[in-house]
Symmetry: C2
Subunit: 209 residues, 2 copies
């Protein structure tokens, strides 16, 4: 499963038209999966939305699952770009959580991003769902990374008394995920970055950078 490059799959390098089509299809699938989920999204409607025949769509993505994989990689790339681009060195817990607030604010400005994971992660809890292994691995990795940031705050004695640092990473991830559901259902009642900021102020004894 090792990938040496961001590009993968059926698209060769330097066919600009094919690359653009590919990107267009991924974007349309990103939207569709986020709106109705993976299983309920239809390849026929996706092809129509991209002004391509079904056979044309299948040229770029021979199966629906290959398209799902590409969409998840695209989403992963966006998260990475945000984190690495913002100078959030993993070792600094304060920088990590400041970056997290910015990411949540960025996502709130882009409902499609929020929708994709809220819908897919629920759907992918099914035992036979093709995205289940991806989400299991992603949550394990995210918990491990965020717990490093938490542990850094513990070491520097920046957590408030009575805050239990064990499992705090899972708690914060859960909080953000759950908030997305409430925001998608009642966007006017919930301000996600505001909730996260307030919650973190109750956990961390200094102001975030």
């Amino acid at each position: 499963m090792a990938k040496t490059s961001a590009r993968q799959g059926t698209a060769p390098r330097n066919y600009p038209k094919g690359e653009r089509r590919r990107a267009q299809i991924i974007e349309a699938a990103f939207t569709a999966f986020g709106q109705v989920g993976y299983r309920n999204a239809s390849m026929v409607q996706l092809a129509a939305a991209c002004d391509v025949s079904r056979a044309g769509l299948l040229h770029h993505f021979p199966t629906k699952e290959s398209l799902l994989e590409a969409v998840l990689e695209e989403r992963e790339r966006q998260d990475d770009a945000h984190f690495f681009g913002s100078g959030a060195v993993n070792r600094d817990g304060l920088e990590y959580f400041a970056s997290m607030i910015r990411l949540v604010a960025h996502n709130q400005a882009n409902p499609l991003i929020v929708s994709l994971f809220a819908v897919l992660s629920g759907e992918a809890t099914a035992a036979d769902h093709p995205a289940r292994p991806y989400f299991v691995a992603r949550y394990e990795r995210t918990r491990r990374q965020m717990q490093l940031a938490v542990d850094d705050l513990v070491r520097r004695d920046l957590l408030r008394p009575h805050v239990d640092a064990s499992g705090l990473a899972a708690d914060l991830i859960a909080f953000i995920d759950g908030l997305q559901i409430q925001w998608l259902l009642s966007p006017d009642a919930i301000d996600m970055p505001d909730h996260l900021r307030k919650l973190l102020r109750g956990l961390i004894s200094v102001e975030l950078p």
Copy 2:
């Protein structure tokens, strides 16, 4: 929409065979909706699972939506039974959250209950989903009720310093919802009532009853 009785829909009173069939169908749909979601569940498979013809199924639930409605009512009834049965008077914040921990423990022993809402709430964020109005209303109501419990703790000065009580209800609901996703994906890595207990200990300055 006022319901004077728990019984509703097409089933009249005192047809024991019909009532049993109805309950069996609701249970099967409860499972199916929780496993693959509403849209992806099929009336044909549901009928087969209940050893009933499709026409027989449609006699009890003339549309798929009517079955969804019955399933959501059944789930609501289970929650209510838990809360009222445990003597959790809404006005007492400590009792409320103690009851909440028991509910989460009960749900963790019954994955189907967890699955149903985790899958449906994600699916129902879609603009045209038949369960969207239900979930919007349910979250609004739950936030309001839980905030009453939070406000009671504020009045009695039982929240730790630096805890922001405004919007805390939404935060706790989000936390529980998000934890369910992680638990469904990695049941061995997450213990939901344990996480909730530890989190509440960081918020509330006295031990829960």
